[in-house]
Amino acid sequence: MNDNILELRGITKYFPGIKALDGVDLNIRPGEVHALIGENGAGKSTLVKILTGVYTPTEGKIFYKGKSVSFKNALEAQASGITAIHQEASMFSELSVAENIYMGHHLKTGKFPGSLDWRGMRKKTKALLDDLELDIHPDTLIKNLGVAQRHMVEIAKALSIDAQVVIMDEPTSALTLREVEDLYRIVRRLKEEGKAIIFISHKFDEIFEITDYFTVLRDGRYIGEGNVKESTVDDIVKMMVGRSLDQMYPESNAKIGDVILEAEGISQTGFFKDVSFKLHKGEILGFFGLVGAGRTEVMRSIFGIDKLSNGTVSINGKRVHIHNPKDAMDMGLAYVPEDRQNQGVILDMDLSKNITLPQIDNISPGTLIDKKKEKEITNEFGSMMEIKCAGYHVNANTLSGGNQQKVVLAKWLATKPAVLILDEPTKGIDVATKASVHKFVSELAAEGLGVILISSELPEVLGMADRVIVMHEGLITGEFTREEANSENIIRAATGTTDDIGGAA
């Protein structure tokens, strides 16, 4: 029974104000690819950091090869054979492949104190790369390699230290289909050699393709495990979110009213051109497009952050001139920006100060901040958004991404806007928070707000929007009602293939 190479028992980890892991168990066997599944914020990354010695667990035990161990740092974990290949390859781009592979465990010649055996390292690197059937020269600088090749080099590095447990944290997120195939090939080889592989992924096709066994985490807790072949997608999703998929998008029953925001032929040199659209009260208007299509730039300039070079913007039928975000706020606009950590919240300020910042002048009659009013607003909108926190006095950086996003929403809803612009509001947040954001958005629309929803997630746009505008390279290339919209015509517009017969790509 106990053929596990690595076992975790009751791993618990506290961070100030939050319990990141709560009694997690994990059993890793050699020659097996083990999927670690969970939403963002479920605790996967924390668990990986504990396994690789970056964090020490507050409670619980790690058994490696049957012995209880505790790693003081990443080097110790690596030395005993546990290594991780990270989401964003962490390598020295100005150094060569061989130098990177032997970083931290250089071979020495032994002739002089500290003299390094470069010839030996190059030779062994070559052997490792050949072994993986990779056509990379050991002296190539990392910066000259593509993302996929860097991943392969990381794997070679793992092999160079004879790792017994290899952790891959979303290894395919930056790879093309062909490169993914290469990765699978290598994963299968490692498996044959009897290595244990922990494979972290969000993608179900991947999990079913390459992994044998899975463990699900949710909210820092161990939820369950099972054999991949004996499970279905729906089983795993239920474990991940605690309910099934079809509840994900709320019913829209908002009454569509008059035009509240209208843009006519607005342009910004170099970013977007001749963009016109109308937003009605109670409507959710989706903006879909690929990254760099100009959607964010359109909204930024409407909100007064950047300048428009052409065109007009009207609110409630009246032409307006918005020079800065304050003007925009005064006219009832609110903008939840794309980059939550840099533009949305102020990480080192407490939640209450974050929430009241946009309207700090309104609650400061004659310059003095009305602390009572501040508290009222924070309590009202904080509890409305169901922010999970140890109190509104804690800094925003102690919260998970999803809760930070709720703070940003609370802060903008507190300004009582008539138009709410959401730029990728659910990017990088867990399914539960995502669902509650969706619920709030449709409730707000039902109350008569006009909502603009920028999203790069097709299901979200299809599930939420009453109307979808598609942009491609700064131009509007399609507009669809909820009934017309489907993934095929949206993607076609987003990639610029407007011609029905296929046309140019």
């Binding site: 990480l347 310059t367 999970k388």
Partner: protein
């Protein structure tokens, strides 16, 4: 709704505070530590020298650092919002030069003071314009104006000096409040400190300064007029330099081109030692006020003991390293405490 939410949260939250934990929080606060250092220093000096705790001596010692203390107040705002101003000593020189010229052409005391303040405001606005409207880095602009402002005074005065001021002008830097031994400079500083405390910690302006210092872009996206606030900070800094120039010129009774030379770094030291992060966004006015008196009385005490100025410089430098290092260590201790407390 609200209640169920709170209940659900309880299991994942860690928020109980023991008395010991509270004490740790209080005594790892930078202002509290500074205050302890200050008290220790006073005890040591009063043991070593019988003249240290003399009321007359203590009050007179204030004259030596009150002008710097006054400029440290707006400097908190400048540094807090992530900027820096290293032209302050030169602004004093420019203000003092303008006042000297005015006095030489027969201006009355109120006019002289007004000119000093206006020149200070103009110089601050000049800095602020290039930094916010043009978008140049604060360090570059004020490095340039450091030379320009003092250069004007030097070019005109060469090795001359303005030494004639009306008799009534002498009050600002040398006067006492009524019949007491309390210097006017000290009272003015305390009054200004109260005003600046209100602005920084109670008003919406101060909140915006903190927001800018922590994240310029998030502040901008929240409708904070970032440029206007940063500009105002520089103007405020200029105005306070004008006030300091009035006091200093009045106290020494003359204007030489090298007036206040070397004060830039001394004043920035006061602010940083007071716990204001040089990266912006963190700190408060209390720490700076303590650090002002700490360094001021340290200098006075060492003078009483005939310790040379060089030792004084080394001591200040050491304190500054400690000021940067200690909060980092304290943060680690706090983090460690939390973990062991939970594990127990």
């Amino acid at each position: 709704m609200e209640n169920t939410n709170t209940l659900v949260d309880k299991s994942r939250l860690v928020d109980e505070k023991t008395v010991k934990a509270r004490l740790v929080t209080i005594f790892t606060k930078w202002e509290v530590l500074l205050l302890l250092i200050f008290i220790t220093m006073c005890i040591v000096f009063s043991i070593l020298s019988p003249y240290f705790l003399d009321y007359f001596n203590l009050m007179n010692a204030n004259f030596t650092f009150m002008e710097k203390a006054i400029i440290a107040l707006p400097m908190i705002f400048v540094i807090m919002s992530g900027d820096i101003d290293i032209s302050i000593a030169s602004i004093i020189a420019l203000c003092s030069f303008a006042m000297g010229a005015a006095s030489a052409s027969g201006a009355s005391t109120p006019v002289i003071v007004l000119i000093g303040l206006l020149v200070g405001i103009a110089a601050g606005a000049f800095n602020g314009f290039f930094i916010t409207a043009i978008g140049m880095p604060a360090i570059a602009v004020t490095l340039a104006t450091q030379s320009v402002f003092r250069g004007i005074a030097k070019a005109v005065l060469e090795d001359q000096a303005y030494t004639t001021y009306p008799e009534s002008f002498g009050f600002f830097g040398q006067g006492y409040v009524g019949d007491t031994l309390i210097p006017f400079e000290l009272v003015l500083f305390l009054a200004l400190a109260v005003v600046m405390w209100y602005i920084l910690h109670q008003s919406s302006y101060g909140r915006k300064v903190y927001a800018i210092g922590n994240s310029t872009s998030a502040a901008r996206f929240s409708g904070v007029p970032v440029k206007r606030i940063r500009f105002t900070n520089f103007v405020l800094n200029g105005l306070f330099c004008g006030i300091a120039a009035v006091l200093l010129t009045s106290r020494i009774g003359s204007t030489r081109p090298n007036i206040a030379e070397g004060w830039d770094m001394e004043i920035i030291t006061l602010v940083v030692l007071g716990g204001v992060s040089i990266n912006g966004g963190k700190g408060n006015i209390f720490g700076v006020i303590i650090s002002i008196f700490l360094l001021g009385y340290l200098k006075f005490g060492m003078g009483l003991l005939n310790i040379s100025g060089k030792v004084m410089i080394i001591t200040t430098g050491t304190l500054l390293v400690v000021a940067v290092l200690l909060p980092m260590i304290l943060d680690q201790i706090k983090a460690g405490k939390k973990i062991t407390r939970k594990a127990a």
